[in-house]
């Protein structure tokens, strides 16, 4: 069990900066996810930790050891690859034993550890199979068993589920999570799938354009995004350009977004009156009454029934907004063309700086900060 520390890291490929100013501390035994769109630098960061890339600036620490000059094969990190990278010319047993043989373990130890690793990924009895006899999911289990078998200081996952079908992905992610907790090993997990990140992680670093945008628990990243990028990358969000107006009392403020008059949390130190407002589709209140503020009316442009929720695409004075209705009952999904109305509670509206996209938090308690 080892912590990982990244200090002022910078990595360039030719003229392009793949990573800059990356500072992270990943605690012992933590399941830490690097989340971001493709090309954001998350894989580069993982490969720098593994030693496949040498950073241009900054430090990488595994526990108390600074590993900048340690070649990849001496770093003792167990990596699980996106396309499995199971050796096609070896049996399942030989694959899992590979790293143990490199470490010159006794035959008895190798047998024992291979068996234990295969058991924890539910592949007992598959020792003699070759990879071409395995499904994608099974191959990835071999990849996981192989990485675990060497009892590495940290486990590194490079989008391990992206080549699997949807059902298997859910199954495997739960299994990865279970194995990691059982071993208590530090894990760094790269993914572009925000749902996957929310489910498996202890903490998430959201990365964009080579920079860490926010580090936090899944709850914080989703409910309290640090900037517009995090808000829109993690989960769905409705965005409105708005001008701040006069105070509305009780830590609230008026804002005008196009033709809509809204009341929003009064932000601390806005750099100007031009802001962006955001709210999540599930935060719209279905049944607006007189007590509710921010009641919006519009025409349903499109509606889709997704089982647990119905998603409505609503045209509000020329602005398209998406809201969700939970557990819709028969006749509750309005057809396109019908008019409807909903409310957005002020505390559900997040305010961002219009120019920088940085979050402008209210002076009083954070929006929706606790369990409702």
């Amino acid at each position: 069990m080892t912590s990982i520390r990244i200090v002022d890291l910078e990595k360039r490929f030719g003229a392009t900066k793949a990573l800059s100013d990356v500072n992270l501390v990943i605690e012992k035994g933590e399941f830490f996810t690097l989340l971001g769109p493709s090309g954001c630098g998350k894989t580069t960061l993982l490969r720098t930790i593994a030693g496949f890339y040498r950073q241009d600036r900054g430090e990488v620490w595994l526990g108390d050891e600074r590993v900048d000059e340690v070649p990849a094969y001496k770093r003792d990190t167990g990596m699980v690859f996106q396309n499995y990278a199971v050796f096609p010319h070896m049996t399942v047993f030989e694959n899992v034993a590979y790293g143990l043989r490199v470490r010159k373990l006794s035959k008895a130890d190798i047998d024992r550890r291979v068996a234990a690793s295969l058991k924890s990924v539910h592949l007992e009895g598959y020792e003699k199979r070759t990879p071409d006899q395995l499904s994608g999911g099974q191959q990835q289990r071999v990849g996981l068993a192989r990485a675990m078998a060497i009892e590495p200081r940290v486990l590194l996952f490079d989008e391990p589920l992206s080549n699997l079908d949807a059902k298997l992905r859910v199954e495997m992610r739960d299994e990865i999570r279970a194995v990691q907790k059982q071993l208590g090993i530090t894990a760094v997990y790269v993914t572009h799938d925000q749902e996957e990140a929310l489910v498996v992680s202890d903490r998430i670093a959201v990365i964009s354009a080579g920079r860490v945008q926010q580090i936090g628990a899944p709850w914080d990243v989703y409910k309290d995004p640090a900037n517009l990028f995090v808000a829109s990358f993690v989960g769905k969000v409705n965005l409105l350009d708005a001008e701040l107006g006069a105070s509305a009392g009780a830590g609230l403020r008026h804002a005008r977004a196009g033709g809509l008059d809204l009341v929003v949390p009064d932000p601390m130190n806005p750099s100007g009156n031009s802001v962006k407002l955001a709210f999540r589709p599930e935060d719209a209140v279905e049944d607006p009454s007189a007590e509710n503020e921010n009641v919006l009316a519009g025409i349903v442009a499109d509606s889709s029934f997704l089982g647990a929720v119905a998603s409505l695409d609503i045209d509000c004075s020329g602005k398209r907004l998406v809201i969700e209705r939970h557990r819709p009952r028969a006749g509750e999904v309005p057809p396109p063309g019908s008019s409807t109305s909903f409310a957005v509670p002020p505390r559900c509206l997040m305010v961002f700086d219009g120019a920088t996209g940085e979050r402008l938090r209210p002076a009083t308690s954070s929006t929706d900060g606790g369990w409702k």
């Binding site: 493709s38 580069t44 003792d76 167990g78 396309n83 990278a85």
Partner: protein, 559 residues
């Protein structure tokens, strides 16, 4: 992730740094150094010995030289034309329609392609030469044929040898076109005729061009065929050879100039080929492989006729050679009856020639496979600045015809520090260097199909780079390396154009013996020796087939 190709090389020196350095040493000693001599000779005045353009001025001013250049262009272009004319229909019919025995047709075509580069020439002489049996037979019924010596003979022999390049590359493209593309065209209302010309042909055109350019390249640098059947019709390789070896007026400077002109032509052609193949990006999303259709009635008969006629014509010279090898001879004269006399002569009179050929090719192949694989790894996986310089240097032999390399070697290795002329080493090095770029390229392309993540997995699990290469990369490359090595062995066994300049009595090889026997009119010995070479080539092709489960065809194209 695209960044992977930029995978920054480790800063520490490892085994691959050593390989890169070794690659540079090899290229400088056995390529740059001898070719520098060719340059030096070409730009040195023969009288005064000072730097001068006199050789070039002479080349451009004398009809004799210009004619050889034009001859080269003429025969190469004509051969290319016929290669396409024969190669494309054969490829289309065998890949798109059910042709009985198409596997056999394929094998025979590849055998013709890989046969020693002059068997065709002298076989046509035995058929249509001055006393050729076909000519005599036809003359007896009143049909007079034009003389075979000269351009006609070269074109005949080489077209029938090189068309399989076009066939193989075109067939390769035709079998990897997604069937859905043609189906889409027909679904949109195009007739199958229109579909062929608007969809299929444009998709395979880059491959046809690629095959045609290889044919051009091979005929341009071919030495054996024009030497045997060319008569007074000089082309650039034979001109260079004559200028260099002529006992009356040895002209190394002029021979070097001709060599450089050959290399320039070859470089232009290679450039065109690279350009053509860089445009071949169509066959990427292969979902539905094309299927062979059944042809009915007359069209089936016609298609079979075309395919069998083409392949039979190219197999004819080989068959004639095998036939004559079993005919009894008395010195240079064939006498009635059949026997193993010609083979007996080889094994009793020149057994060393046979053992030399096997020994030298074997030694060369060991070098080619091991060095080529390691350099291929460096080229494919370690794109350091040094490797980016090394890569194009390694490709130089592509544009150096055998004759040119031979001239360079004689000049450079006939003095200190490398006194190699007359040794077996120089022959082995010739085979090795001539084949090296193919081996490096083939290793690199095998590596491109091996996910780098596999090697990273090995490294990540604690295995150092050398051990990872041995335990992960090499086993995955094995099939490709072995089949490539067998192909290299075949080409080394059949090498003539460089070794003809470098051999001495005790380092004579089979192709040289065949060539000399043909010159002396000992067709029996030549036929028997050629038959041995053919059988060896056939066995090698069979082995490649067994080893990779692919036909030798795909290996030829890959190489």
């Amino acid at each position: 992730m695209s960044a992977r190709s930029l995978s920054s090389a480790p800063r520490r020196a490892d085994i691959w740094t050593l390989v890169t350095l070794g690659g540079f040493a090899l290229v400088i000693a056995f390529l740059v150094y001898p070719l520098a001599d060719v340059f030096r000779y070409s730009f040195t005045d023969k009288e005064t010995g000072v730097l001068s353009l006199s050789n070039w001025a002479e080349f451009l001013s004398k009809k004799y030289y210009i004619r050889a250049f034009l001859n080269s262009m003429f025969v190469s272009l004509t051969i290319t034309f016929f290669s396409v004319l024969l190669g494309v229909p054969l490829a289309f019919f065998t890949t798109r329609y059910r042709i009985r025995g198409s596997a056999l047709l394929n094998t025979v075509a590849v055998l013709a392609l890989l046969s020693p580069p002059f068997i065709g020439a002298y076989s046509w002489i035995t058929m249509l030469g001055r006393n050729g049996f076909l000519r005599t037979a036809l003359a007896s019924v009143g049909i007079q044929l034009p003389p075979i010596y000269g351009a006609l003979g070269i074109i005949l022999a080489d077209s029938l040898q090189y068309y399989p390049f076009v066939t193989l590359m075109t067939a390769g493209a035709l079998t990897t076109i997604d069937r859905s593309l043609e189906e889409a065209s027909e679904n949109l209302g195009a007739s199958s005729y229109r579909t062929f010309f608007r969809v299929t042909l444009p998709l395979v055109l880059p491959s046809v061009t690629g095959g045609a350019l290889i044919s051009f390249m091979m005929s341009l640098s071919n030495f054996g065929t024009p030497m045997i059947i060319g008569g007074n019709f000089l082309v650039l390789p034979t001109l260079a050879y004559n200028l260099f070896t002529s006992e009356i007026a040895e002209r190394p400077g002029m021979a070097s100039t001709v060599s450089l002109i050959l290399m320039i032509c070859a470089a232009v052609v290679i450039g065109l080929q690279q350009w053509a193949s860089s445009r071949r990006k169509y066959a990427s999303m292969l979902v539905n492989r094309p299927i062979r259709k059944d042809l009915g009635g007359l069209s089936s008969v016609l298609a079979h006729l075309v395919c069998y006629a083409i392949v039979a014509l190219s197999a004819l010279p080989l068959a004639v050679v095998v036939f004559f090898s079993f005919k009894n001879t008395n010195g240079p004269v064939f006498v009635p009856g059949f026997g193993l006399e010609s083979y007996r002569q080889i094994f009793f009179d020149v057994p060393k020639t046979v053992t030399n050929s096997f020994l030298y090719s074997f030694a060369a192949v060991v070098l080619i496979a091991s060095v080529g694989t390691m350099l291929g790894f460096v080229v494919a996986r370690r794109r350091t600045l040094a490797v980016k310089f090394l890569d194009p240097l390694l490709m130089i032999p592509y544009i150096v015809p055998g004759t040119v390399l031979g001239i360079g070697y004689i000049v450079a290795f006939n003095r200190k520090p490398f006194m190699l002329v007359g040794t077996a080493t120089i022959i082995v090095m010739t085979y090795f260097i001539r084949r090296l770029p193919y081996s490096v390229r083939s290793a690199a392309s095998i590596l491109k199909q091996i996910d780098p993540a596999l090697e990273e997995a090995g490294i990540n699990l604690g295995s150092p780079p050398g051990r990872t290469f041995r335990t992960v990369t090499l086993p995955l490359m094995k099939a490709g390396i072995v089949s490539g090595a067998i192909m290299s062995w075949v080409t080394s066994m059949n090498e003539l154009s460089a070794s003809i300049l470098l051999y001495v009595g005790r380092t004579m090889t089979m192709p040289i013996k065949v060539y000399l026997s043909v010159l002396d009119g000992y067709f029996g010995t030549a036929s028997a020796m050629s038959t041995i070479l053919l059988v060896v080539t056939g066995i090698a092709l069979y082995l490649v087939n067994r080893w990779t489960g692919k036909s030798g065809a795909s290996v030829v194209v890959a190489a």
